[in-house]
Structure formats: C-alpha cells, structure tokens
Amino acid sequence: MSAIPSTAIEIAAAVRSGSLSAREVLDDHLARIDARDGEINAFNLVMVDEARAAAAAVDAQVAAGEDPGPLAGVPLALKDNLCTHGIPTTCSSRILEGWRPPYDATVVKRVNAAGAISIGKTNLDEFAMGSSTENSAFGPTRNPRDTSRVPGGSSGGSAAAVAAGFAPISLGSDTGGSIRQPAALCGVVGVKPTYGLVSRYGLIAFASSLDQIGPFSTTVADSALLLETISGYDGRDSTSINAPSPSLIESLGEGVDGLRIGFVTELMGEGIAPDVAARVRQAADALAAAGAQIGEVSVPAAAYGLSAYYLIAPAEASSNLARYDGVRYGMRVDAPTTAEMNAATRTAGFGDEVKRRIMLGTYALSAGYYDAYYGKALKVRTLIVRDFERAYADFDLLITPTSPTTAFKFGDKTADPLSMYLNDICTIPTNLAGHPAMSVPFGGGADGMPVGVQLLAPALGEATMFRAAAILESAAPAIDEVWS
C-alpha cells in the first residue's frame, strides 16, 4: 500500500500504465477515510459502492487496452453542492433532506469521463455561506493539521479531504473566497477560475453572478490538470465562455522571467496579520528572484468589495433559495395553508446564517431600498472592474494574502458575523470582477499553521497565474519551518 503515489498526475500515470490498479488506489484512500474522517468530518457521504464500481470500470478499460483518461483511477472528492445523479446532494442543509438529483452536474460528468473516481460528497457551510464550515447542519469539519481549528470555508470539507490525504484532488465552489480561503487555511492549492470558464450547470446556486467551481490539490500541477479537465464551453450554462480550455500543464514550466507582478497596497495593511503579510513579501521576493519585476499597485475600490459583496451575494441568494418551499422536494413541515407550510418548512430547514443572508438580500432588493443598497453595490462592482483594468495595464499578475490570518479556533468568530465576513476581504474583489485567482501554500504563520499566498490574474489569465504558482510552490518554505 505504501506504493500509492500522492499526486493525481502520478496516480493516473501508474493506473494508465497498468502498474497500479484503480481498485488498489481506492482501497488505500477508503482506508485513510475510515481511519480518520470520524475525527475530521470532511465527508457528508462516502460513495463506497459507486466508487468501487467506477474503479472496477477503469481497471476493466485498462485491461482491455483502452485509456480511461487523464484522471484514470484518481480519487476525487466533490463538494456537496454539486449535483450527483441518484446520490443525495444536501448543501449541508436540512432543507434538502432526502433529495437525490436526477442528473449529474457538468463538472461531475467531465471528471467521470476523464477516469476520476468520485469517492464522496464533502461538507460545507450551509449553501456555501460561511468561512469556517461551522455553519453546516451536519457538524463542522476540522482542520487536519490542528483539529481544534477550522478548515476555512465554505468548501472546508473539500480542502480538508485533500489536506488529510483522503483524496489527492477535490472540487469546491468559490463565491467570495470559498475555495481559496480554506485552501490557505489547510495548506493546499485552491483555484477560483475566471467566471464562465467552468460550467455552473449542476452547482446548486448561492450567488449566481459570483459562483465558480474550481479545484483543490496538494500540487500546482494537479490543480492545472483538474482545471483543464473541467473547463470549457457548456451549452447548458448561458454564462459559459465559448472558448477552448486553456493549456495549463504545458505552460507550468515557463517561469516568470519578465512578468510584472504587483502588490495590492489596499490588501497588505490594516487587518492583515503581520506573519501573513511577511510570508506574502517573502513570496514576492521568490518571484523576483525568478526574474519577475515586483511593484506596488492600488486597486482603490477593492476596499469597498466586502460591503458590495454582502449586498449582491445575499440579494441573489434570497432569490436562488426561494425554491426551497416544501412544495416539490426536500423537507416539508405541514401547516394549514400553503403560505404557512412554506414558512414552517423554511424556518425548520435553514440555519441561522442562511436566514440572516436571505433577510439581508430581501431587504437590499426591496422597493425603496434597491437604489441605496443593491443598486449602489452594482456601481461599486463596476468600479472594481475598472480599477482592476487599470492595475492590469501595468501588471501581468497581482499578489495578496489569501486570508488575513491563519486558521482560527472553533467558535472564535461565530458570535460576530462581521469578523467572520472580514475573512473574505482579500478574496472577494476577484469574484466581483469575475477574474481568476488562486491560493498557493507558502510556509507557516507564527502559530505553525499554513499561510496561503493569493495570485490574481485578469480574465482568462490562468496560464500566466499558474506559471507564477509553480515558482511559489518550488520556493515555498516548509510549513513547520521555525518562524523568525
């Protein structure tokens, strides 16, 4: 069993060559889940039977001389807001109790077609609303590196699954940082692609104009491979970009010589823990050493990103989550009239954070308040796009912390929603702009927990972003290196 490689690229190569069976790979990972997920709680559901059947099919393909695809036999964890045909999909909410989607999300189809083995559905903050996975109806996920700490969120289960070695790769969704922040807190790679690069069909919506699916992995190359697999035009998603998938693996080794990379000054000062800021500077030095020109750049409207986001995302959510009314699927709490049944179902089915955001969003859109709140937030969004455009006139990439701090302790921020929201201050602006960004582990903080450095690129700038990520990966200090 010790012969099982740790990365998706190595596993797929071994399975395709016939030197390792998908069954062996799966058994190894299921054993790890068995041993430790009771403590971590990364999974809402481990798809043992389906995964065994899929692994057997991959092995049969190899035996028949066929190529199962670039992810042959690679175990992959799916955030539990991605629809899986016939398999419960809960969004970690009681309101979807008992619902089994009659279809697969486009990304699920694509990873299955590439030979990946979907091994389970991972925990999240209910409907992806949160930054710690503490808002799950099924209990929090724990950070595998220190189980007294949160894994981040909302894709905390997918990040923890990769960090704990339950799967070399996983999929999450990122609306305001929900891939990048847990990647940073768990010490793995996480990517939020350009809006429209990956089909959202089958991703249960939180905020449709911001949501984007992306990969987690332990290495930059694995994320590149997974993103290549899931990206590309999908006729089922009207916001899908009609362009070929980017070639990321190919350009990974191209280096950063001559690239202009800017520090975003607004996201390096107040509110950023000094140890985190220091790691970001150290990362910039590593890029400079590899030939990049480092400068400072201002994205003034980024300071208003958080406020705009907490109006736009809840507004869309208030509409997206209206359908959970007890009429067609999921939970129903009976009551004498339809309206009372709707209210009773939603009262019982949604957790506090979801209710808080539905109310925020309903208020922001209501007559008489629309212009002051939602309307103004849209204007800020336009300003952020414009400010980023200016920044990218002078720079190829931007660099910031992913999260203001390392992983915090359970309960630290649950009493004060605003302090929790501040976790997303560095990640939100790119969602509002629709641009790609990724978090790369770069050493540890004063507490010995991982620090993530965020790389930002203009729309469809993934290939350049991955080139810099590869440099950071090779220059990164060990997480347990003594903090100086």
Binding site: A105, G202, A207, S208, S238, T239, E316, S319, A322
Partner: protein, 497 residues
C-alpha cells in the same frame, strides 16, 4: 340617489348620470399574455404541448431543480421579434429579470421575465375603425404551472389538497402591454380580434382565448368627458372570452361611475370578473400588493439581436391585416373601414376576393357575397374566375340576388361553373311583362292593403312593401329580382295616386 346609465352611441362609450347629467368616458388599456407557438419551452428542450398527462413534459430546468440553469430558446426570440415588428415596435437590446414571489405553481418561486428593458418597445396597432392603439411594450416571459384544488369549493382556500401540473411551467409567453387608448367595450373586443389576427398571421401563437393560450387583463378607469387626466384604474382579471371582456369593462365602468357620483374614491386594485354573477369582485389592493424585488437574472446574458436578424424578420414579414384591408379597399373601391372589407380579411378571404375582382368581378358584389354568404373554411373549392362569372350573371340580371346566393352555395361545394348550376336549378331571368302580370294580379287580390300601401305613412308603407314582396316572391318561387319588384311596386303606386 338613483342613477341610470344609458350608453350614447358612437365611438366613445359614455356613461351619463341622470341625476347630475355628468358624462363619463371610459378609458381602457389591455394587457395580453399569449403563449408562443414554439416546439419547445422557453429555457429547456421540453415539448411545449397543451393537454398532455400532468408532469410529463418536464425536466430539471423547467422544474427549477437545484443546480439547473436556463438556456434561452432562439425560436422564442424569433417569434417575439416577429410579433414586435408586426406591432410596429422597435427591437431593443434587452435583459431578463427575476420577479420574486412565492406561489406553488412557480417552480423557482420567481418568474423570469423582462422588466425595465423589454425586447419590443413603442409600437402601435391600427384598428379597422381607424383608431391607433399604442403598444408600450411586448416582452418575453415564462409561464407558470397550473394548480388544481381538490375538495372544498375548488379554490385554494378550504381545499383538502392541491395538485400542481408543471407541463405549462416554462412555456414561452409574450406580454403585450397596450396603452390606455381604448374608449369602448366593443373597441376592446376589436383590438383583441385584430391582435389575434396578427398573432396568427405572424405564426407567433395559436391565440386561443378559451384554451388560455391568449389571456387578457383589462385596466379600466373612467373620467369626466373633457378631462385629460386619467382616473384611478382597476385591473380586471379572469376574462376568458371576448364576451366576458366586453361585459366586464362595461360593468366595471358603471361601478366606478357609481362610486364617483356618490363622492367615493376608486381604490387601485385587482378585480376578478365573475361571469356567472356578471360583476367584478375585489382582489388585492395596491397597498397590499407584493414587492416583486425585480433584479437582473444572473443566469442569462443580455439579449442583443443583430441588425441582420431584425432585417431578415422584416423582409419575411407576411402582409398584415391592416395592409390587406388597404389593398382590398383600393381594389374594390370601398372604404377601408367597410364591414365587408374587414370581414373578408378576418376570414382570410381577401386573396380570393382580390383575384375575383382582378378577373372582372364587381368589387362591391364580390365583397357582399364574402361578408354574407361565404365562410373562411368552406370556400376552398371556389375559384376566382367562377366567382367573378357569378357576380357578372347577377349584375347582368340573369340571376337575382337570392338565386346567386343559392348558386354560390352549390359552387362552394362542387366547384362547378355558375351558369351550369343555374341552368340545372332552372334559374332564368324573368321576363318583365310576366312579372308585371303577377304583380297586377296580386294587387287586385288585396285592394285594402294596396290602398294602405299607396296612402299610408312611411312605417305602414314599409310594412306593406314587405307584404307584397313576400307574396310576389312566393308566386315566382323566388325567381323575381328584388330590385325589379321594388321598382315595379313604386311605379304602380305613383300611377294610382
């Protein structure tokens, strides 16, 4: 205080208060929802079909299942633009919006519609009476499912349980919002007739009011004649036929005048027409109205049809009813508002009429036959040359009007030539001396009536003219020409005075 309201004839429907003598004018704007005749639904590939087993034409998208996304059906855009251009609208870059409210027949608990940027804006519809009714907008939106309530009264309140059929959910609709330019219940009906003709001509919809593929809501208000400001309006719903539409507008106008004449105010509200009771009942008032929290639908991209697409639609536009009436009026020499011209186009017989006129038929006689003696469906066998020939025989005196009608009925069935049919039926022009003999004989038989005919007042004379004409027609087995009979009776009367 008692009020009676007598409508004054004319284009405007005026309600007069007998106690005050105040004259009130009604003002109506119609909102029409029509289902577009596409093969598939608005945002998914499910069949757009009426009357199938419940919940068979559904998929994750039109059921609004979590994770599903809408994809706009291009044919919907095509039909919506065709309709918009036929209504003289400009096609604008448009966006979709969500209209948020909870209702069990609406799978997502929001309706995807167009709000501040509709695809079609600022057009008009010309009515046959010459009135131009403005069209504010004609936008695309999705239909809801259908509830049915079991037990109780059949309404949602008090029902034992309710069932929802989502086959209709996601069916494409166009909502055509007319400006308040209608002034008469009959004009409202004509507007719908005319709109339906356009929907059929453009192929946009089958426009069946009874089946619900065309639904009409009426915004009704009243104002004192001469006032230019609009009164407070009520929106009347549940109008399932043209008859209901006309009755409901008239009822609602009278109700409002009653209130205003007794010093009360009109409350802006939705009212439901009760066809059985012949009255409207209050629904939701504006104060209690829902806040729909419209915002741009983030799952769809802005819709910007290319100039080429719009030009192609214009180039392929079939002749519309107003243009067809113009052509027929020009060819026949009749006025464009003449009922026979309007009806010929309504019955889709204008091409036949034009061809018959081109073949030498007299325009007025051709259209008289179209109006009174032909139906749209049953005239397939009738060729324009034979039609023109028939009209020629009639005008030449070889056939009376009654005979011509009989011959025409046979032509429609068999497609044979009019002279052949006339000969078979033994229709021949009656010799004038023969007719004179019969008329003189009948006068002699009824001296009293003849005397009254010659000396009586107009009313009496008209009655007795009918008496004598009837007897003459009976005696000649309908072969006498009505005009010749009238002329003969008149000349005999003149002789006897």
């Amino acid at each position: 205080m008692t009020l009676t309201h007598e409508p004054i004839e004319g284009e405007h429907f005026i309600v007069v208060s007998e106690t005050t003598g105040n004259e009130w004018e009604i003002v109506v704007g119609l909102e029409v929802h029509c289902e577009l005749a596409t093969v598939t639904k608005l945002f998914c590939g499910c069949p757009n079909m009426f009357g199938d087993e419940p919940n068979t034409n559904v998929c994750p998208v039109c059921l609004g299942l979590p994770g599903s996304l809408p994809v706009l059906n291009e044919n919907v855009v095509e039909l919506a633009m065709r309709l918009g251009r036929a209504l003289q609208c400009s096609v604008e870059p448009s966006v979709f919006a969500r209209k948020n409210y909870f209702y069990p027949d609406m799978p997502k608990d929001y309706q995807v519609t167009q709000f501040d940027r509709p695809i079609n804006a600022d057009g008009w519809l010309d009515l046959p009476d010459g009135t131009r009714v403005g069209i504010e907008r004609a936008h695309i939106e999705e239909d809801t499912g259908k509830n049915s309530h079991a037990g109780g009264s059949g309404r949602i309140h008090g029902a034992d349980y309710s069932l929802v059929d989502y086959n209709r959910a996601g069916v494409p609709l166009v909502e055509i919002v007319g400006r308040p330019h209608i002034r008469h219940p009959e004009q409202a009906k004509t507007y719908i007739d005319e709109l339906r003709a356009i929907l059929l001509t453009t192929g946009a919809s089958d426009a069946k009011m009874e089946e619900g593929s065309l639904r009409v809501d009426a915004n009704v208000s009243v104002r004192r004649v001469g006032d230019s400001e609009l009164g407070t309006r009520c929106e009347v719903k549940n109008l399932n036929s043209l008859r209901s539409l006309g009755r409901a507008i008239e009822y609602e106008a009278r109700r409002q005048v009653d209130l205003l004449e007794t010093g009360e105010r009109i409350k802006q509200e939705t009212r439901h027409w009760d066809e059985g009771a012949g009255r409207t009942r209050a629904g939701r008032s504006k104060e209690e109205a829902e806040d729909y929290r419209y915002f741009q639908e983030p799952d769809l991209v802005p819709l910007v049809p290319s100039a080429e697409w719009i030009a192609a639609i214009d180039a392929a536009m079939p002749p519309l009813p107003a243009a067809r009436r113009d052509a027929l009026a020009l060819a026949s020499g009749l006025g464009v508002t003449e009922s026979s011209v309007v009806i010929a186009v309504q019955r889709d017989l204008d091409q036949l009429a034009l061809a018959a006129i081109a073949a030498g038929g007299d325009g007025k006689r051709v259209l008289t036959h179209v109006e009174h003696n032909l139906s749209g469906e049953g005239s397939a066998e009738l060729g324009p040359d034979a039609f023109a020939q028939l009209v020629g025989l009639e005008l030449g005196g070889q056939l009376t009007a009654t005979q011509a009608k009989t011959v025409l009925a046979e032509m429609v069935v068999s497609g044979r030539a009019p002279d052949v049919i006339a000969a078979e039926l033994g229709f021949e022009a009656m010799d004038s001396s023969e007719l004179e003999g019969i008329v003189d004989g009948l006068i002699a038989e009824s001296p009293e009536e003849w005397s009254d005919f010659c000396t009586g007042d107009d009313k009496k004379r008209a009655k007795l003219q009918g008496f004598f004409t009837g007897k003459i027609m009976k005696a000649t087995k309908g072969q006498a020409d009505g005009k010749a009979v009238a002329a003969l009776l008149e000349s005999r009367r003149a002789e006897s005075l």
